[in-house]
């Protein structure tokens, strides 16, 4: 585990060694704030107004954007995690180190998860402070929403890292991961067009149902935790197997 921690430190430092993380944080925070305050969430059968139009002290609009915005931002942050190593030829060197593939995978995963969670906290906490200054905000929904977001980010990050491990081109990795996460996000949109026999499955398979209907409203559900853990576990194992295969090759 300590070796995974070493990888974590290396990856974390790598994120902040380039201006990419800073730019992403800045852009993400500003875009989310603009969506939250002014635009709202105009997608789907029940659009949500922006804060000023809605006039209600809650963060539901912000949380509703998270599954979609994270499906774009996480691939952007993780696209280089493996693809760049392969392109630069450092992957072979990494695999010669006295570390098991799962330790590499875990270290990189934790670093990416921590960076994305920093982004989410960076957006959520200031907006919550703002809203609490303007009205009677239910803080418990904020904290539980962040816990739910941690699960969502973990599942998304593990899957996006697999996208990066599949190719040596960062752009291809980004597109693959975005396609995968975007497909998950789309599942709930399909409910309106799906036959009744499929609707329940689509609903249960979509990350929104396990985040927006529960944690984002202040409710923690064991089934949601298992849902996110399963996706995260599947992503990490898949990633490890991909790395093992390459080491084998």
């Amino acid at each position: 585990m300590s070796r995974a921690w070493t990888v974590f430190r290396r990856e974390w430092a790598a994120y902040f060694a380039s201006p990419l993380a800073f730019v992403l944080i800045g852009v993400f925070v500003l875009v989310q704030a603009a969506l939250f305050f002014y635009i709202g969430y105009p997608i789907g059968p029940v659009p949500l107004p922006g804060l000023w139009d809605g006039g209600q002290a809650n963060l539901l609009t912000l949380f509703t954007w998270l599954p979609l915005s994270l499906a774009l931002i996480i691939p952007a942050l993780t696209m280089g995690a493996w693809a760049e190593e392969r392109r630069a030829g450092t992957e072979e060197l990494l695999l010669t180190y006295p570390l098991r593939p799962w330790e590499w995978v875990l270290g990189k995963f934790l670093a990416s998860w921590a960076v994305v969670m920093l982004l989410v906290v960076m957006v959520t906490v200031p907006l919550a402070i703002t809203v609490a200054n303007l009205g009677d905000l239910d803080w418990s929904t904020v904290w539980v929403g962040l816990v739910g977001a941690a699960g969502l980010v973990a599942a998304y990050t593990a899957l996006a890292l697999c996208g990066s491990a599949l190719t040596h081109e960062q752009l291809v990795a980004f597109l693959l991961s975005t396609l995968l996460l975007g497909s998950l996000w789309l599942l709930r949109m399909l409910v309106a067009y799906a036959p009744a026999s499929l609707a329940g499955f689509l609903e249960q398979a979509s990350p929104q149902a396990h985040f927006l209907d529960t944690a984002a409203r202040g409710v923690l559900v064991a089934a949601d935790a298992i849902y996110f853990l399963l996706w995260m576990g599947a992503g990490l194992v898949w990633n490890t197997l991909l790395l093992e295969r390459r080491r084998l090759q």
């Binding site: 430092a13 209600q56 920093l118 067009y193 064991a222 089934a223 194992v237």
Partner: protein
Amino acid sequence: MGSRTVLRRSALITALLVGLVLVEGVHMALRHLDKRHDFSQDQLFTVSDGTRAILAKLEDRLQIKAFVTQEVRSGEMSLLKARVEAQIKDFQRLAGGRMGLVVQDPSILSAAAEEAHSFGIEPLPVVTTRGGEQNRQLVYLGAVLRYRSRTEVIPLINPWSFEADFAGAVQRLLRDQRLRVGWLGEPVDQDSLPWQFGTFRLLRARLEARMEVVDLSVPALEAGARLPDNLDVLLVLRPSDWHPRAVFALDQFIAGGGHALICMDLVRSSPFGDAAHVAQGKALEPSGLEALLQSWGTPLVPGHVWDSQWPGDRGWVVMDRDANGQATERGRLEPIRDPACPALHAEGFERTFPPTARLDSVQFFWTHAFGQGTVPNGLHRFDVLRSSPGSYVVDPVLKSVGDLEMIEGQTRSLLASGSGQAMVLATVLSGSFPSAFTKGAPTPFDATLGDRHAKVGITDEPVRAHGEPSQVVLVGDCDWLRDPPPRDLGPVMPSASAANLTLLDNLVDWLSQEEDLIAVRSKEPRERPLHNFLEAERNSEGLLATDLPRTQEEMRDRLARQDQAEARARRARWSVMAWPLLGCLALVFLIAGLWNWKERTRP
């Protein structure tokens, strides 16, 4: 064995293990599906304590027959159905084996369809679009609840209010007889046209859906009749010019432990005004209850409350003018914010009183306030609804209808007086009510004989001087329960809105000691309004919503101040948005930079 083979085998074993973990994970998810904890402030997503308490009262088996279409083609509808089914399972679990469920599909069984129809359960048309083609399906989603020999029907289950509907139905089943509400006051005009919205049809229908409404007559009370003792709640709507004998009947009902909700109103309101009425000096009509209220220490203030801080919406008539500037007979309604129609904010509700604990908006129309009198021993007064601290008592405002200039002038002069204070718009009295008729019962009034205002004699009938503990809610307005105008007219006058009717339901339930239902009903998400920068700035500039400039100079000055207020509001908004965001960004960049620097300089 080569290292490749070893790796392949370990990969295979890992894949098998992962598969097992996934299968077990799904099983675990199913097993722990019910494990949930609701951290939200009002526990909005958990079965409320009220429903639990009601289900705990079940002594026999509650049988539910659900009429539900099983093969629903619409995906969204099937999810709603699943949500209802999950809620019913929750209720079954909480009922601890005392609740049975039978599901029938009227879509495929004609006998079930007939039975559903006999209970008034009708299918809901649901339209689905697939491949550009619209399909219409009739979906049943209703239930019949049976307990002992009693039956309650929920004709159409609304997943969002199902808990409240279900708990209400079970509560009614638990009672040996339906709640009895006495209706005393203005009769409901069933024949009035939709635009004659001054009657109480909506209120009456609301009460009749849940309880037995007993019509009572003021003339009968005046003639010597007594109020029945078996009423759970007595609803008194706008008592007007009651003879002392009718007041005596009310006094004795309450002294006997009866519970009452009394809505006072000294003016017969009309959204369009009634100049002739005022000209005849009939703006104020005494209720006849003045002495009784005085004896309880809750005198009604005859004037109206003018709430400069919380004005409500209503319409006023603007007459069209012809080419010569003369008013024509045609007019139109325009929205206006009227201080004489207070729209209470959250601060106006007493939070420790269950019926008002979770309410955020109720609007009155020309309401009176209750003054401070001497409350007799054994009686406790508890004020539950208050206007804003910027409230004043003004002369009856009937004559102000449609007169915007009068509203503006009135507000200015009142603000200048600086004597505003919060007014009590509703109060609760509980305890043992002393009778106001200690000298004896008034003689009955015979309408065929003489003057109702003539001196009243005393009879030797027994009088309950001090009675059983009771509760009375006094409200300074009656129009808040009148039928709403047709929607297309706009905000004509405050009336029985959803929020107003929720307050009424809560008060009736509290008086009839059905507090469990109040807890269930209050599960609506509470209003959490944001600070209104523009209104605050306009107030600080002295720009009232009802202000109208009189001269060009005033107009220019007003526009300039309005611009300044808007600019300040914009700046305040920006600062409240920007500072937390920029502060957090700066903090993170600082920490990340320091950490990075430390890592780079580490030997």
